[in-house]
Symmetry: C2
Subunit: 212 residues, 2 copies
Amino acid sequence: MATTRRKPLSRERILAAALELVDEQGIEALSMRRLGQALGYEAMSLYNHVSNKDDLVDGILDLVLAEMEPPPPDGGLPAIRSSAVAAHEALKRHPWAAHLLASGRIRPARLRYMDALLACLRGTGFSAETTYHAYHVLDAHIVGFSLWQTTHGSIPDDIEDVGAFVDRMVPTSTFPHLHEHAMQHLADGPHQDIPAFEYGLDLLLESLERLR
Amino acid sequence: MATTRRKPLSRERILAAALELVDEQGIEALSMRRLGQALGYEAMSLYNHVSNKDDLVDGILDLVLAEMEPPPPDGGLPAIRSSAVAAHEALKRHPWAAHLLASGRIRPARLRYMDALLACLRGTGFSAETTYHAYHVLDAHIVGFSLWQTTHGSIPDDIEDVGAFVDRMVPTSTFPHLHEHAMQHLADGPHQDIPAFEYGLDLLLESLERLR
DNA sequence: GCCGTAAGTTTACGCTGTAAGATGACATAC
DNA sequence: GTATGTCATCTTACAGCGTAAACTTACGGC
């Protein structure tokens, strides 16, 4: 039994394990020692396949970015809409990735997405100046909304009565409107969150349509 | 000369020093040891005035939130506009704070701002459902745009030829549209960034106006 | 003098990323 | 067969982090 039963390490296996760990336990739970343990190796062994922790984080972010299809240059506003929805859904699956994007961690795939979005806007007939602003608004919505949704949905798992939880965190007496807002979220349930994203997105797209 | 020359510690002095340190060197430069050193005390002495590092970070975030005036409930869309601009300007002065807000660090002042914004929307005549969505879009724009601007503007200080820097990071050959976009940013200069924020904001507000 | 309280310091613990060196397995060359 | 080189892995170590616990020092009230 001297032979090792472990599957050998590889960059792919390390990234897959890191992605799983981060999706389940959050980005702050990712440490080289913990990841090594999850794989059955020592922390330092990971450095044979990954140059450092930053490289590791870039690697899993790239996996998420690969889930976002950039819009085709001639797709018009419908293509922008569906690529935005796809990006939002990827960020919803991997909430930590929205934080990384918001922290300015720029990856080639991200640049390609940005460039494709700009190209699509130009191809749709917007002026350079309008494209400049439309891009900002769209990107802020995609990332900003995903972030908001992430933090907003962070209700502790061990809460049984969610309504009572909201009552305690956001009492009607001091925050009447915020309380109402939170209750709307609860009433709709999480399945309604994507429509909320799309509602705002459509608001933006209609405004842009009128600008063209 | 046995008497100490140091001004005594206090929560206010600690928070002020932390805010200065973080504004100058970024949130990741904030450690208890470094902050203590900046004040001329040992790290552990800070714990007599601050319960832990989280409390410290909450404290400086509260200082930033105090710079954001919530909209009055009967101010209508103009009040929403100016409070959004004020919030954006505060986040521009303290870029790290946008990250904290985006990370879901909720403070009472933040809840008050959210409640006031919702109240103002309701007071402006929006239905509960439209308010629900309008709030998301506005908040995503405020935080999302500020974040984007922060990360985008993070050009190393020691760069002399900014144009060449952009050429290297975003070559025209591979990212033609993104290159154009970056050049627009450079041509306008940082003084134009707030107008960019307001341009997008006005786009949103006009859409909302039409929904009412 | 004495005591209580509060502020500041020292030391220590477990955690982090990772540099440096030791160990061992295996392929190639002679 | 043996020597050599290469490479993955592990061990050890270091500086930094937040902070708990214990200690010292200063001061106000009796």
